[in-house]
Subunit: 465 residues, 2 copies
């Protein structure tokens, strides 16, 4: 991060078109220029870009997400835009064009050099969230029968525009992927060896349709700096680099956190600039759970005679519902995150389910005892105190089990486990908890003299009617 | 991922000590061997390690987390262990020793080569979750006055054990960091130039005490493959590589998700193997919120005469509490994650707070209308219907505001915003919602004829007494 005073100084120099600004911007890292631009009003951002070389301007623009890029480019003339685009890597141009109105993208595309045009046309056809949508075609490939010294010359010559030159992909004349070699191995190898003598033939690659989260996981799993993207025939189409993988990981984690809180992931950043945009992504789970919690209300309705006799029963509804919801959310977080990081596997899943359920019971007994003592002291009613404590114990155990089990079941049926959001689990837990609580209340407080089976069936009938 | 049948075949070959197994293991990627080992019983894992070269065994062991490493090493003799340790990178050995009983670590340390001993001693003193704890000392440095061709020779010679040779750190004779050069630039430079003529003097580096999350963010921000670690005098101590940064990011995101669900982050993996271990990390927030929700019960107590008159008021307690909790959790997730990814900054924070509060009001009006209609149809009571609908609207707006504001306030007071967990927000929301609901119920259902000010003060008195 740039210190505050540097930001102010550079802002001042650029906005006053000082000559010094050229030199300062040329020496700054793109990420630091972005930091300054974030504090500049729209309309003035173009002044910065006019003071940068086109390659620097391209690097800076690449740091913004596609939507912000679009906003910045609106300030520029088409000539300025094309000059910058010519210096951007093709994967970044693709991301940008995907956000643009088709007509505008088409018009800009026409003005780019012929070779970029063909590449971009192909990339634009890929789905955004796949390896194909993420990859760049700026990589270095070499033929398998050249010598090491020829290959080093090739890298020096063709590596200028490549995103990485640290992995060299070895292909045949039809661009089928044959092997891979790191630059490190290349420069350590005897100069007269042929590439096919020293290359690795076992290659980690991804299919062009592989989803982007899977691509990021492979890069992380094998600690790669880049992974090659191939089609069905094993033809090399592009590469995905580790910095893009890190961005994907961050975006996917954000999506998981939002989903777990019952927020529908956004496809389009534009929406959040309006109030309805902010509401829209939350409304679905809110309404589903609202209807679910009306059922919880129906449980109370079914037992309203209990409340009418002993109004104190109502005082413990909040603590039972809330604690159950909390423990359910905790188990959910452990379960969903464990699956995302692959810490949970077929091997340890049963142990995990049993462990969390027993932990739920243990926590239930602890919390149940606490609440039971409070209930007794507060209301001086032993029956109520027992009913509250027992309900707490059992409902916490069930809540923990549901929090663990529901996302697993979703996973088995190939539904994203993060969809089993906190709100969803909480609603399930609310209904269960109230049924348990009122059943026990009815039994212990002894309003109607029935055996336990009769009480449960009576309670359920109350809910269903 | 290896296909299931390959896993079974390789397992079979190794467990039967087949000669073929040597060759197969030599050709497998360490991450794939880990996949197989995860399905092998403890006690048999050593058979795999005996069939691997010591460098391969070291690579495989590095893939496990320090705790699992310890378990595997328990199966081996001390000679086997030392042989593998000699091939492990120093940052990984450090992680391992930090998990070991001091006596065992000390004994192994004695048996390692003298040069490693000194390095390890120094690394072991670093705090685990800082740049110093994360860094490796296996990197390549060059002196600033050598020529490009000398430097290339140095890299070929000394780069064998280095974690990365793609960044070359330029130092003076006292190891003060002077500049940096990528291998890419080095091999493209004229052979007779001196390093100081072509190196970059502006260097992104981190201090040895910087926390590991900050280190990962810098690597991500500047799209680096590695970052140098220096002390106060700018002496180069080590480097942190991008693959370690990715692991840190994943671990930190897990920690954030757990904290948001009210789970205390674990310092020590050992704990989760016992039930109390699983319970311990959840108990803190459960009990805090349990006590908080007793206050919510106290609100109902304060208004119990309302319930005694119109028991139907109780039927809507679950839906109001749950929906408020849900919207609060949603806002919390947006707020905490926005701060973690730095999408939220001083510049847009006010806009975010206002936007989310208005979204909360909008959602409140929608959900309030729905619940109001349901209440009217179900209970045929216009006053109750209005009280429920109005309470929902206002409490959802407040819940959204609290979800956004509380983590921000924590952040201002330098408390980790993820500590403002879902359970905590939900409890705040529960209490607020019930006060609003009973106040409106009292007013609209017209049990006691008081003006609105009187009603609120009466309600508050009820809670406090």
């Amino acid at each position: 991060m740039l210190p505050k005073k540097d930001v102010i100084l550079i802002k001042h120099l650029v906005l006053n078109k000082s000559d010094e600004a050229h030199k300062i911007l040329a020496n700054l890292h793109p990420a630091d220029i972005v930091q300054i631009l974030n504090e500049i009003k729209n309309g003035n951002k173009k002044l910065f870009f006019r003071m940068m070389s086109s390659s620097k301007a391209a690097e800076v623009l690449e740091e913004f997400d596609p939507f912000d890029r679009l906003h910045i480019m609106e300030e520029m003339t088409e000539t300025e835009t094309v000059r910058i685009l010519e210096n951007m890597s093709v994967d970044e141009i693709t991301d940008l064009f995907q956000e643009m109105p088709t007509a505008q993208a088409e018009s800009l595309l026409q003005k780019l050099p012929q070779e970029d045009y063909e590449e971009l046309k192909a990339l634009l056809k890929m789905a955004e969230d796949t390896a194909g949508g993420l990859m760049t075609t700026d990589y270095v490939y070499i033929l398998s029968d050249v010598t090491v010294s020829q290959a080093i010359d090739d890298v020096r010559q063709f590596g200028q525009k490549a995103e990485t030159i640290y992995y060299l992909y070895v292909v045949d004349d039809k661009k089928h992927l044959q092997g891979v070699l790191s630059l490190r191995e290349l420069i350590s190898a005897p100069r007269d060896k042929r590439i096919h003598e020293i290359m690795h033939r076992k290659i980690v690659s991804v299919h062009v349709d592989q989803d982007q989260e899977g691509v990021a996981k492979i890069i992380s799993r094998y600690s790669l700096l880049a992974v090659p993207v191939v089609n069905e025939e094993n033809r090399l189409l592009g590469i995905v680099t580790v910095d893009d993988a890190m961005e994907v990981m961050e975006a996917e984690d954000t999506e998981d956190i939002h989903k777990m809180a019952g927020i529908t992931p956004e496809e389009d950043v534009v929406l959040t600039t309006t109030i309805w945009g902010a509401s829209k992504k939350r409304i679905l789970w809110l309404v589903i759970c609202l209807l679910g919690d009306m059922l919880a209300g129906k449980v109370i309705h079914g037992y309203s005679h209990v409340l009418e006799s002993v109004v104190a029963v109502a005082f413990f509804i909040p603590v039972l519902m809330a604690t159950g919801g909390n423990i359910g959310t905790q188990s959910l977080a452990l379960s969903v995150r464990g699956m995302a990081t692959e810490e949970l596997s077929r091997k340890n899943i049963l142990q995990f389910i049993i462990g969390e359920t027993l932990a739920g019971l243990q926590l239930g007994i602890i919390c149940g005892s606490i609440v039971s003592v409070i209930a007794y002291i507060w209301q001086n009613n032993a029956q109520l105190s027992i009913a509250v404590g027992l309900s707490m114990s059992i409902s916490l155990m069930l809540a923990s089990l549901m929090g663990v089990l529901v996302p697993l079941i979703f996973h088995i049926f190939n539904i994203d486990p993060a969809v089993a959001s906190g709100p969803f689990i909480t609603t399930l837990v609310d209904i269960t908890t109230l049924i348990i609580y009122f059943t026990f209340s009815l039994y212990f407080i002894d309003i109607i003299s029935l055996d336990i089976v009769g009480v449960v069936s009576f309670g359920l009938k109350g809910v269903l009617v």
